[in-house]
Subunit: 340 residues, 2 copies
DNA sequence: CTGAAAGCGCTAACAG
DNA sequence: CTGTTAGCGCTTTCAG
């Protein structure tokens, strides 16, 4: 009982019309007489016909599949992005192919290679390592939108937060809360160091310098961007340093690791040390203490990213290379605010 | 400059061989003389040829794409599962299509419909609402593997933890720590109530009854399975109840919400109340207090799920309907253990 | 408004 | 070992 699935031809035969007519009905392409239409629809139902999207794809050159490439969906931030993209894609009749890059250049390049295979109509790419030249080799007709910080010259639309502005707001907030000595955690010599890493770090440094206060000092603490690495890095650091007034972490999960390290050392947050994250992952508002962080409108990001892809497909190609998505500073308990 | 991508035919012409030979080289199908092979490879490189996977898919009926369907990848547990599946899929030359169901029956059924469209070779399905009959309507040739608890009779392999065993271990652990009154949070009347919800709840009830102690009492607290709902439900409950000895939450994120609610009420964990989660999401070991939970070997789950799909494709179909994946009880600070 | 037919790029008989 | 060729299921041009 291994019945081959019904094809359009089967439907045509059964309905006593031509394949062309079935196609017209399925895609309600041109006007079809109501009688014929009903005949065809009945045949479709009787045979349980479903269009073969692969055949459609071969014929039309479009698959209605978009790829989402991120370092790792198990990271809450990327999981939330993936959810937003998936939701938006579905609303536009697209399906999402999930690609992980582990923040490795080679895997990021492999993602671009996918284009050659005609599988996808576009990519929403949270690239970390990719250089401008990698993008430039692509045929101009391949829709790519970069999300999160990426260096200039990519000649592709790039959706991101106004990092400098956000970093500045955060630093000023900490300064107002009395912080004068800062530890910047998660900056250098890790996989995430290229795009977002460097840019957030640069933003913070600019913000700190912008304070123009001679009392203000800061130090860098290299660290990977995971819970574990955030924890390890700060624990290690605390063995031979006294706590700063504030620990600025490059993302939320690292901050959670850092807070854990502080707790183990008997240092209270925010009483002894202020701590901040970045990304506003869901957990950051429910943990104890809740975490001060920078939040990006992820749904809006996804909306615009998908819209770009669709627009590019439709032939429009006049996009600003860089476009800001709204962000906000969320002041919570880890810097003396309230849970929200 | 809108050059059409090179086809296999272009390569054949350039190399001065037939398409057949190119195909043989690309798929190293049969033996090809070294000289010819080199000629072909050069032509491929010169033209930048990449096989069109859609055409391959149409011809072979296989796309090497598998779907992963989960309620919501923004939930840490599903994000971690997605990561594990993605990793395993890549290792087997497969790509992953990501589908979200929001734990709604209708969307779960839509996922199954995807099969009709010939897009995917199989589905790894974390179904929550789907009933056995939904699965039964499928052609027998459609590889589906269910992950997480699903009711019986699905006639598809189902990979899951030994829920009863895990629940029993957890309950006994709490009992040993002195808990006599229990609150079971997250059980009834929510989207997650069907599959996993009911099964965990049943496991806990069985475990509590199994204690055989007349002192033991318990109560149900309905709650959604999110941070927010976990928080709201317990906060509300605490307004007119005195705290139990232990709050057993159906998953980790709900537990995090619950702990937050306890903290707001000035109730200490684990000093005043013990709290447990389920899933061993990454954050659960770094939060303060770290969370006692049930951990499933997600990488192993993904490995077996992909292996099933591959095996089914290869024609083997003798799978146990239900198969346990290793799990463990992780005793952490929220029940008086250590961080790990 | 509908039919006939070409062909998207590839794989795999079938011949040689 | 390699060439010829027939489709996979669909969309769409061209006629009618």
């Amino acid at each position: 009982m291994n019945r081959r699935p019904a094809t359009m031809n089967d439907v045509a035969k059964r309905a006593g019309v031509s394949q062309r007519t079935v196609s017209n009905v399925v895609n309600n392409h041109v006007y079809v007489s109501e009688k014929t239409r009903q005949k065809v629809l009945r045949a479709i139902k009787e045979l349980g016909y479903r269009p073969n999207v692969i055949a459609q794809g071969l014929r039309t050159g479009q698959t209605k599949i978009i790829a989402l490439a991120v370092p790792n969906v198990a990271w809450p931030y990327y999981g939330e992005i993936a959810h937003a993209v998936q939701t938006e894609a579905r609303a536009n009749g697209l399906t999402v192919l999930m690609l992980e890059t582990d923040a490795e250049l080679e895997k990021e390049q492999q993602v671009l290679n996918l284009f050659g295979s005609n599988l996808i109509d576009g990519i929403i790419f949270s690239a970390v390592r990719l250089r401008a030249e990698d993008l430039r080799d692509l045929p101009a007709s391949t829709p790519v939108v970069l999300i999160g910080h990426h260096q200039a010259g990519a000649s592709r639309p790039n959706l991101l937060a106004d990092v400098n502005r956000a970093a500045q707001d955060l630093v000023e907030h900490l300064y107002q809360r009395g912080a004068r000595s800062f530890l910047l955690q998660g900056s250098t010599s890790t996989p995430m160091t290229s795009g977002p890493g460097l840019s957030r770090q640069a933003g913070f440094v600019a913000g700190l310098e912008g304070l123009g206060s001679p009392e203000v000092t800061w130090e860098m603490l290299p660290s990977g961007w995971t819970y574990r690495e955030g924890f390890d890095a700060l624990r290690e650091w605390l063995t031979d340093h006294r706590p700063p007034d504030a620990v600025i972490c490059m993302n939320d999960i690292m901050a959670i690791g850092a807070i854990r390290a502080l707790a183990d050392a008997g240092i209270r947050v925010p009483d002894d040390v202020l701590v901040t994250g970045w990304d506003n992952t869901r957990e950051s508002s429910f943990m104890v203490p809740s975490l001060t962080t920078i939040g990006l409108d992820k749904a809006e990001l996804a909306r615009r990213a998908v819209a770009y892809l669709l627009a590019e497909k439709a032939g429009k190609r006049n996009f600003p290379e860089k476009e800001f998505v709204p962000h906000e500073l969320l002041v919570r308990e880890s810097t003396g605010g309230q849970q929200d």
